[in-house]
């Protein structure tokens, strides 16, 4: 396993490489590409943190836990609530901030505040020729040139190796509270969650655990109490403790055997998709119905089972290769191939964009 000491060292390795590199952060998803292993553990550390400016800059191999600890000490947090895959996958390793951004990992709060990509202010990366490139910066508003920061977020390393990221962070709220509203099926749940998200009460979590719709609000104590009352009056149900870390990590499927998929659709389309799932599949909802977690029999190809889907389905847990992403229509396929060719002309990074 190669472990570059710093960005320059990494650039040198990439410049000289002539075969596939398997770049990984903590590899907690076990989805690193095939090739010579290259760990970013050596590129670690917070390089700048200004709580008064809500910004933090860290090297890409920095453990997420280190960042969360530094933020917690100042009463702040990563608002996009990235999932920790170790719970669901039973993997070990240390989740890194570079991995979180490269895969655009975002939790329940995405519907209120945005995804990982929405909090990425700047990146430094090494492209496939070994060239060091920077884009964006460390300020919250920046439209100077093209937004390669977004392009790198979610590219899963296909367009280069992230070496440093700068993030917008947010205050940690004083308190949070949740409401449980009975919902027998996905349709009833989406109805409750859509109504909740249509109120001005700033819902920051909207999930369904198979029995109840779960609604979360956060903020100052008095405000949370007020909004909880208003939501209860509008939706029914009762205040209750909810394990939102569990929702975030799909923990409910952690100890049950079977493949796990996530499907992203418009919330209003979720009941139809759930109804079309193969017999025996179980599901949970997040993002107001916009995210469907599915537990199904090993080897199920949910993409094939669902047919044409106006949305995106991907397997997160299961043995063997993940069924390929459906091919992009032209000219998008050509554009993606063109970008990969430009940023990775030697074909070092990922054979496909699909999870492997």
């Amino acid at each position: 396993m190669m472990e570059p000491r710093d960005e320059a060292d990494l650039a040198d390795i990439v410049a000289r490489a002539n075969g596939p590199l398997s770049v990984r952060g903590g590899n907690t998803r076990g989805m690193a590409a095939p090739g010579t292993a290259l760990s970013l553990a050596g590129l670690s550390g917070i390089t700048l943190y200004e709580p008064g400016a809500l910004t933090l800059v860290a090297r890409s191999g920095t453990p997420v836990a280190d960042i969360e600890a530094a933020l917690a000490a100042e009463g702040q947090r990563l608002a996009f609530e990235p999932m920790d895959h170790r719970t669901l996958l039973g993997t070990d390793g240390v989740p890194t901030i570079g991995g979180v951004l490269a895969a655009n990992i975002s939790g329940p709060r995405r519907i209120a505040v945005g995804a990982a990509r929405d909090f990425a202010l700047g990146v430094r990366f090494v492209d496939g020729t070994g060239q060091i490139v920077k884009n964006g910066g460390r300020v919250m508003k920046n439209v100077t040139g093209y937004d390669l920061v977004k392009l790198q977020c979610g590219a899963k390393g296909a367009l280069g190796v992230l070496t440093e990221v700068s993030l917008k962070v947010l205050p940690r709220p004083e308190t949070s509270a949740s409401l449980r509203v009975p919902a027998a099926d996905a349709a009833a749940a989406v109805d409750v969650l859509s109504r909740a998200l249509g109120t001005p009460y700033e819902v920051t979590g909207a999930a369904w655990d198979g029995a109840d719709a779960l609604v979360r609000i956060e903020g100052f104590e008095a405000s949370v109490a007020y909004r909880l009352d208003q939501l209860q009056a509008a939706l029914g149900g009762a205040p209750a403790a909810v394990d939102w870390d569990g929702v975030r990590n799909a923990a409910t499927f952690a100890d049950t055997p079977g493949d796990v998929w996530r499907i992203s659709v418009r919330p209003s389309a979720a009941p139809g998709v759930v109804a079309a799932l193969p017999a025996g599949a179980q599901c949970r909802l997040d993002w107001g119905g916009g995210l469907i977690w599915v537990l199904c029999a090993p080897g199920t190809d949910l993409r094939a089972a669902l047919g044409h889907l106006s949305g995106f389905a991907v397997r997160v847990r299961g043995a063997g290769p993940v069924p390929m992403d459906p091919p992009q229509p032209e000219p998008l396929a050509r554009i993606e191939a063109g970008l990969r060719e430009r940023f990775d002309p030697k074909g070092l990074f990922r054979p496909t964009l699909a999870e492997v």
Binding site: G137, K141, T144, L148, S194, R266
Partner: protein
């Protein structure tokens, strides 16, 4: 500011180009009479003007595709145009270009409150997107100052912000999907109502690409439920640095206001003379706005006021009614108009780390003396997005050039302290030649590589964003 020499082979073929465009569009959608094309000679950066070869006003995505196919085949550059409100010259034509205006494409295609989205044609104005959903209690969050006039197409091209993006984000954070036409005339659908997509985040790079990657004809936008209420507090300080420290302390305390606006002495006085908003006579003024129910706003404002009091404000005025709120905002909202009354001005929009605010304001003050031009500062303090307004006299020979030189020095200062050239207006032509202050050649090369892939012939808005020498080879190859 230079623009490339127009391609004479295109100029000489004007009749052929116009005829080809007339073949694919209704007669009233092609404008080629020089008396009429002059209407498109500039955008809101009026210091630079150039009538285009022709202008077209298509009504549908299909018509846009037909126009682009014609221009692609004939090798004619295309400059997309929303409402022409760009302060950066994003829609400035070249003499050899076709202006593609989306103004006629203003339909609402879908509203869906359960999914909290709206799909519109991109010629629709920013404010009228909110107009289409406000009866149901929703709004579209990004609120650039020009929101009454500016089009969603331009908002997407420039990734526009506004006063309230501290809480709600800018355009890219509220854009769910687009229908886009490539320069070759191919129609693509990217994103939509679902949040996860496969493949690369092309939507993320298209937003903010200043019309250089494709023409966005339809957009799916996130809409939000309107807050129960909004209430501002006005604070005056005798020292600019103290006001800056107060902003930082508010943010550190865990209160996240929807807006924190800052005005300096020149702006305060000018706005007061113009709008009679009752502003105090002081060095710095902050307007902080919170949202929520009455009780929530009272609670949040109490926290903010408590922090402000630690900084010895000379004035603290909490709004107690809609009229008082309007009075507090009145001066700020008329700032640009008020400054325009006393002089010509150039509005910059560099962003800096909030912690550098006092230093940067002090340096701007010093430079103001060196250049002999006055500067007013009015800006979004919560996110460090400055708006220095440099006053000059357009009728005085050399004053515009002096003003531009001063502006460039301010923007270099923004980059020097860890910020950027433009926070929400875009690069256009205005900041194009300063791009290498912020970016190394390799950084610009990576960005231009993206354009190479989307628009290999470099026909879409080609003379913008990148310094002309940096993009020369590519633009020449295209000719």
């Amino acid at each position: 500011m230079d623009m490339p020499i127009p391609d004479s082979t295109v100029l000489n073929r004007k009749a052929q180009v116009v005829a080809a465009l007339q073949k694919v569009l209704p007669p009233d959608s092609v404008i080629s009479d020089p008396a009429e094309t002059r209407a498109y000679e500039c955008d809101a950066l009026t210091a630079y003007r150039c009538p285009p070869l022709a202008a077209v006003l298509p009504s549908t995505t299909e018509e846009v595709a037909a126009v682009l196919r014609v221009c692609f085949e004939l090798g004619v550059p295309v400059v997309p145009r929303g409402s022409g409100t760009s302060l950066a010259g994003g829609a400035l034509p070249t003499a050899d270009c076709v202006i593609l205006g989306v103004a006629r494409m203003n339909a609402v295609l879908e509203t869906n409150y359960a999914d909290r989205l709206i799909r519109v044609q991109t010629g629709r104005t920013n404010l009228s997107v909110t107009g289409a959903v406000e009866e149901e209690g929703f709004f579209y969050a990004p609120d650039p100052s020009s929101q009454l006039a500016c089009a969603i197409a331009g908002n997407i091209a420039m990734n526009s912000g506004g006063a309230h993006c501290l809480k709600y984000g800018v355009t890219t954070n509220n854009l769910l999907g687009v229908t886009m036409v490539t320069m070759a005339g191919e129609v693509v659908e990217i994103g939509g109502g679902h949040l996860d997509t496969g493949g690369l985040d092309l939507l993320g790079v298209i937003c903010g690409s200043e019309g250089q990657l494709g023409v966005v004809t339809e957009a799916t936008l996130r809409i939000l439920p309107k807050p129960e209420g909004a209430r501002p507090v006005l604070m005056g300080f005798d020292d600019v640095e103290v006001a800056g420290a107060c902003v930082s302390d508010i943010i550190k305390a865990g209160v996240l206001p929807v807006a924190i606006e800052f005005m300096d002495k020149l702006c305060i006085q000018t706005c007061e003379n113009f709008a009679k908003a009752g502003y105090p006579d002081c060095e710095a003024l902050l307007i902080v706005e919170v949202e929520g129910s009455d009780a929530e706003m009272t609670d949040q404002l109490a926290r903010i006021v408590e922090i402000a009091k630690r900084h010895n404000p000379v004035e603290l005025r909490e709004s107690a009614s809609a009229e008082e709120s309007a009075a507090i905002w009145l001066g700020r909202k008329s700032a640009f108009g008020a400054m325009g009354q006393i002089a010509d001005y150039m509005c910059l929009d560099g962003t800096i780390p909030v912690s550098e605010l006092p230093y940067v304001l002090r340096r701007i003050g010093e430079m103001s003396k060196e250049f002999g031009l006055a500067v007013g500062n009015v800006f979004h303090a919560g996110d460090g997005n400055m708006h220095p307004l440099i006053l000059f006299d357009a009728n005085k020979p050399g004053d515009l050039e002096l003003c531009e030189a001063f502006g460039a020095e301010i923007l270099k200062l923004c980059v020097e302290v860890g910020g950027c050239l433009t926070g929400e207006h875009g690069v256009g032509i205005e900041k194009r030649d300063l791009m290498d202050v912020q970016y190394d050649p390799a950084d610009l090369e990576a960005q231009m590589a993206v354009k190479d892939v989307f628009d290999p012939a470099w026909l879409l808005n080609p003379a913008k964003v990148f310094p002309l020498p940096a993009s020369a080879t590519r633009r020449m190859a295209a000719e």
